[in-house]
Amino acid sequence: MVGTPVFLIAIPLLAAFLIPLIGMIWKESVRIIPGLVLAYMTVLSASLYLFILENGTYVETIAGWQAPWGIDLVFSPLTGLLATIMTFMGFIVWLYSYRFKSNVEFEAAKKYFIFLMLLVAGSVGIVITGDIFNQFVFIEIVGISAYALTAFYTGRNSAEAAFKYLIMGSLSASALLIAIIIVYAQLGTLNMAEIAANIDQMNVHYRIIAMIFFIIGIGVEAEIFPLNGWAPDAYTEAPGPVGGAFSGIVVKAGIYAMVRMMFTLFDISGPMKILIVIGLVTLIVAETSALRQEKLKRMLAYSSIGQMGLVLVAFGMGTKAGVFAALFLMLNHAIIKPLLFLSGSFLTFNTTEKYISQITGMAKKMPVVSVLFALGALAISGLPPFSGFWSKLSVLTAAADENLMLIIALVLIISVIEIVYYFRVINRLFFFEYDESVSVKPHKPGFNGMIALFILAGLILLIGFYPASVTGYLDLAADDLLNTHQYIDKVLQLGQSIIQ
């Protein structure tokens, strides 16, 4: 091991404070240090993950106080898997944007990389923390980095998208704080395991109200309907790689927070139905909106929201197969969506509007990027033999086990819709003539960016042809999420509870 879970958060923070200092002397460091930190986080997270697969969940206490009293970090098969995915995606996004703005101001680049690094660190923090108020703090860290990244380009609309995001984000943060207040007032603790162990002592009315506030509070990051109004604008206006970071990292953290809250914290009969309803509404609204979009990134954003709806539906089934399918979907989405965003951002390079019509016939000019984009599009719409197929299949089998025919039918219809709108783009990309008056000027994509794209594409093909390479890990993670008692026992190691 090269560290403990707390390094995943402390090291990026240390680096963020260090960068302005070193940047005064050595300008290139503002690009290199974040990359080194993200690479280190990936290695650390992966090695910790392998470690805990052998030795069981690792709970780290902070400031020397045992779990119910102090803040603790939980590194379990589920959180470890997610943290590894996130840090890896963070590294990929860094790799893609390494030369980003290299010809422009040093100050801007410095800030961009600090925000990116803290975005990843905050998302990892949301996942591995075991304390609800600590989670709130991390949500705010992610939030402020995300607002700043959205408003990064000084274009006309970016400030507006960021402002919209900020209003929704801070309203939902207030809701989250109210939920925390209710829980603390009733149970006198903020530790997740402690809350989970004592949730049945809480009045049912308060439990339901607190849960509603929690859903509102986390829903903005998790992009559930109707709290996702910010997403299409933010994805469109943010710099290209940031869209990939949002869909690959931030949303995953939001979904995790929501699922952890539903499965572990609030043990109400029927919360799963709530998840299914939320997920289905999100799915249908988002996918039908995606069909109508004229702008590439807006379409991708709606598609991303729709996928998250599907994830929630799969989680909502509440069975082992459902959770497994949901995690599989999350993994695939975390790989495929950044590929689409990153390659899409190469295709619409230097345009402000990013209309789909602007990429007409680009395949003739930028064949490699176009093929990679098409690969992502085919994979996410669930066509065999790519990775998306297996996750959609597992959703369908999970639904079939539970006899949820409505869900099966809807998922199939949605898949058709997805195929339609992705093929619309692919059609334009490959089978139309290049038209100089409409299309963007082709450019030579950077070397580092292409490496990032190839890594992602390689992963898609790997999972597509050998799904068994990941299913074992996902299986363990699903077990971990469903086993609330084990979580409580592991965190409250001594078996002591402050509430008798």
């Binding site: 403990t4 707390v6 402390a10 923070l13 240390l14 963020a16 404070f17 302005p20 200092l21 005064m24 780290e60 206490t61 902070i62 400031a63 020397g64 106080w65 119910p68 009293w69 102090g70 803040i71 101001e105 100050e107 801007a108 800030k111 600090i114 925000f115 803290l118 923090g125 108020f133 600590n134 703090v137 991390f138 705010e140 860290i141 402020i144 980095s145 607002y147 700043a148 408003a151 990064f152 000084t154 400030a159 960021a162 209710i182 603390y184 007032a185 009733q186 149970l187 006198g188 603790t189 903020l190 004592n198 809480m202 009045n203 009315h205 308060y206 109200i209 402050i498 509430i499 008798q500």
Partner: protein
């Protein structure tokens, strides 16, 4: 029409809030023996810190505080990034009229006192009410007073940034020292001394003083940035 919907929504929201917080059951069902008693007891016996809030902010929930200074750091950075202009010349400060002699001399007179008060508040954070955040913000208000009273009072952005970075780095380094000498991140690894002494509480006052420096530098920088913004 829109207003009617909003008021309906507010009524529903208010109703739920009211039945949650105003019903007598809310108090009756409360579980009083939560973490509170443990914190109060351990603050005196183990940490030897008189101010329990400080002990919680810096030690029991120190990780939150680390996140919180990061939020401030991010906000200050974001402000610079959002208000960034291509041709970045330091603009004239948005103070329309120079301060009158009375305000000017008054500010000069009060400024050292404010700084002193801020320093007092964060040095005594573990003994009396106050601490790093409070002291830091008080110092920032002192600089604010000078900035709006004198058009040519200026602070070097680089120095602020160095103070901020050093304080942040030392905070994390103290956390790691806790990991090395105590066994967990941010653990109180120094001798705790005697309750109500200035040098008591081990690492708590040290970290809180660092937080004070960091908050003061961040807030001053933040105000400085926004003050030099011409609409």
């Amino acid at each position: 029409m829109k207003k009617a919907i909003v008021i309906f929504f507010l009524a529903v929201f208010g109703y739920f809030m009211a039945i949650t917080f105003l019903s007598p059951e809310f108090e009756a069902d409360r579980n009083r023996n939560g973490v509170k008693d443990f914190y109060l007891e351990k603050t005196v016996s183990d940490l030897k810190t008189a101010n329990t809030v400080t002990a919680i902010v810096v030690n029991f929930r120190g990780f939150d505080t680390l996140g919180e200074v990061t939020v401030l750091f991010l906000a200050a950075t974001a402000l610079g990034s959002i208000l960034f202009k291509k041709r970045h010349h330091i603009g004239e400060r948005t103070v329309l009229y120079p301060a009158s002699t009375i305000v000017g001399s008054g500010a000069k007179l009060i400024f050292p006192a404010i700084i002193l008060l801020g320093a007092y508040v964060f040095i005594h954070g573990h003994l009396t009410p106050g601490g790093g955040f409070q002291g830091g913000t008080i110092i920032a208000t002192g600089f604010l007073l000078m900035l709006i009273s004198y058009r040519n009072f200026s602070i070097s952005h680089n120095i602020l940034s160095v103070i901020e970075s050093l304080a942040g780095i030392l905070f994390v380094v103290f956390g790691f020292m806790g990991l090395i000498y105590g066994g967990s991140f941010l653990e109180n690894f120094m001798g705790t001394g005697i309750l109500n002494d200035l040098f008591s509480g081990g690492v708590i006052p040290v970290i809180y003083i660092l937080v004070g420096f960091k908050v003061a530098a961040e807030l001053t920088g933040l105000i400085y940035t926004i003050l030099h913004e011409k609409g």
